[in-house]
């Protein structure tokens, strides 16, 4: 009987994700994927064989009890499943959508050895979306007020998660955010078609309901320094979660021509400022016809797919290594390809070419070949002599990574930084910096990483800050 059941289970294939038709969606900003239906989620949930030693849990950076929540889904207890997830993950509707599952939980799922792995991320998203729709707001258990105040700098996933945990321990929590909207990369970077802003809004609402205070339009380092927050404003601890928001350019000729953007600018105009709805929204963006995005990460995919949606005839990804080395989520690369993005692999930009009015007309590139592996283990790209060529373009978007923004660090004496300007912490669990009462986590410690890691860091910091304040 048990044998038979197992066989049956193995026959169910990984359930496909319903999604908008690629040709349609390439013209709109609505979410690409629709999410599982109840039936699909059930079919998928029973594919999990409920391992005794579930490797998937080790694959998840925040150790969600994956088999437990999937079991509840299989039993139809979706709200119960949500409870299990929320024990470890503060932002499941977001992580279910944007986690690089193929490198994490799903990479090690045993079902994946012979078949495709259980779609853990899709199930997580299903559960979180279901809960948002059907769950009731419940005030979490709040410890009595301690009279201690904590300032959180930055409202990305690290700051939000830290606030959510800390407020429950009885401390007063204020988030200081530089922009006029909270959410960090989740609102200014990741586009609507991949992460609807209403989902982020929901998380922010929840935090407000449970008492977290938001101070928007506050650039720390300018309006207030960390020292002032602690010495004059009475904050007993500070959590630095200001991300890695400094854009890198390519350092090639022609970079300040009109039509050259950092991915940060291009995405911020569209996501935070809603320039794709110009002139309904006041912030403008050009509707370029031929656009190249330099880079191979999630940011590059987001930028190129945004350019396509703004009406580009040709939207290219130019990447100096080969497709296998692209760091973007696999699903995004596939989605981009289906939508018509053209990939120019093993190619690096040399200079941006412009006209007399200062606008981009093209990009000179050079072909690369892969040599010996470098420190990162990836094969090093080497330029091929004499292989230069020119692509005609009217926009070039640099998505080659970000650095730490020095505003906070420069104005916080006694804060130890590493050689790249990221904040040094004693270890990732305590999040303690070299400055007493000051903690840090997320991209500002690790360099540009992932939502789930930033979220995890925020929660570790909350625990550590609570311990510090209870001393």
């Amino acid at each position: 009987m048990a044998e038979e059941k197992k066989k049956k289970k193995a026959k169910i294939p990984r359930q496909p994700m319903p999604e908008q038709d690629p040709h349609e969606r390439a013209k709109n900003f609505s979410e690409v994927t629709y999410g599982f239906t109840a039936e699909l989620s059930l079919n998928e949930a029973v594919r999990c064989i409920q391992c005794k030693k579930p490797l998937c849990i080790d694959g998840c950076p925040v150790s969600i009890n994956i088999p437990e929540f999937i079991k509840k889904v299989a039993e139809g207890d979706i709200l119960g499943a949500a409870k299990v997830i929320k024990e470890s993950n503060f932002l499941p509707a977001i992580c279910g959508r944007v986690c690089p599952q193929e490198d994490q939980c799903e990479m090690v799922c045993v079902v994946g050895v012979k078949d495709k792995p259980v779609a853990i991320g899709r199930l997580e998203r299903y559960v979180a979306d279901y809960e948002a729709l059907h769950g009731k707001f419940e005030m979490p258990k709040m410890a009595p007020k301690t009279g201690k105040k904590v300032a959180i700098i930055g409202s990305g996933p690290a700051g939000l998660a830290c606030a959510g945990d800390l407020i429950k321990t009885g401390h007063d929590v204020t988030i200081f955010e530089a922009l006029h909207k909270a959410g960090g990369v989740l609102v200014y970077g990741i586009p609507e078609f991949r992460l609807p802003k209403a989902i982020v809004e929901r998380e922010l609402d929840y935090l407000k309901k449970i008492g977290v205070e938001f101070r928007l339009n506050h650039v720390i380092g300018k309006i207030r320094t960390v020292d002032e927050l602690m010495k004059s404003d009475g904050y007993h601890a500070v959590f630095l979660a200001n991300g890695a928001g400094l854009p890198q350019f390519m350092n090639i000729a022609g970079e300040n021509l009109n039509g050259v953007y950092s991915a940060n600018e291009f995405l911020t105009r569209n996501n935070l400022m809603k320039a794709y709805q110009f002139p309904e929204y006041d912030t403008p963006i050009k509707r370029f016809k031929n656009v190249a995005v330099i880079g191979g990460g999630n940011t590059a995919m987001d930028a190129v797919r945004t350019a396509l949606r703004l009406g580009a005839d040709n939207a290219y990804i130019i990447y100096r290594r080969s497709r296998d080395e692209m760091p973007a989520r696999k699903e995004e690369i596939e989605h981009a390809e289906h939508e018509g993005v053209k990939f120019i692999m093993l190619t690096a930009p040399l200079r941006v070419i412009g006209n007399e009015k200062g606008w981009v007309t093209g990009l000179e590139c050079i072909k690369m070949e892969l040599g010996e592996p470098d420190e990162s283990g990836r094969r090093r790209p080497i330029p091929v002599k004499g292989s230069e060529f020119i692509i005609n373009l009217d926009a070039v978007i640099a998505a080659i990574g970000t650095n730490s923004n020095p505003l906070v660090a420069q104005t916080t004496p006694g804060l130890e930084l590493n050689k790249w300007g990221y904040i040094v912490v004693d270890n990732e669990k305590t999040c303690r910096t070299s400055k007493k009462g000051v903690f840090a986590g997320g991209d500002i410690v690790t360099g540009a990483a992932t939502v789930i890691l930033a979220m995890g860091a925020g929660r570790s910091a909350a625990k550590s800050i609570d311990e510090y304040l209870s001393l």
Binding site: V219, N256, Y261, S262, Y281, D282, G358
Partner: protein
Amino acid sequence: MNEITDKKVWWSDAPAIKEFVVRAPWIVEKHKAGQFVILRVSENGERIPLTVSDKDLKKGTINILFQEMGATTIKLGKLNKGDNILDLTGPLGKPTHIEKFGTVVCVGGGIGVAPVHPIAQALKEAGNRVISILGARTKGILIYEDLMRKCSDEVRITTDDGSYGRHGFVTDELKGMIESGMKIDLVVAIGPPIMMKMVCKVTEPYKIPTYASLNTIMLDGSGMCGACRVTVGGKTKFVCVDGPEFDGHQVDFDEMMARLRQYMDEEKIAKEICQKNTM
């Protein structure tokens, strides 16, 4: 938050020139000469930078002065005493480097006089001899004359049409001063980019250090996007965090002016819609 406690209309013909006094105690407390704010007027609005042109520490207010050039400044101009500015961020940018230089000439062109004002004040307080040159198209749109007289040892005025002061440009006056043999230790120039470029052209042969305060397109104002970038001395700088003031002799003004024209077509559309909605 950000309540407008006073409004003054300096010039009511289009493009109108208006000034607000805004309650912003936290910003006032930290603000230094040369710094600016970024504001947003409505939920679908864009973020624009404006310089803090005056302040009152006791009352906790800052002044902003603007000309109704496009959609956002027109919308802003519709607000009245008692209204709130939706979003206000600041102070942003690096403060002006202030020390005792000796004789300093502060050149303000058009509404550029307003941002020059706090700098002239600070330079005066630091013990400099401050000579201000204020330029306007015509007498009626000359702003801040009284305030500038208060913080200057001497004020010289030029108008393009000769309706007040010297008939000509601020550069004519500056050139005259230099050629008359006056020893000038520093020039600060704020105004339309073409004016700043010309001022720098005048001072360069004499090697007179010249600060120009650049008014590039901005988005976040905290170094996150690079929209505001300019080339200074062959290097790319972000005006919002590295500036807004730079050594004017090193600035690539032509590139900056080309970059300011990026959204000309869109700005026109937005302005037309904005004007239609008011009629």
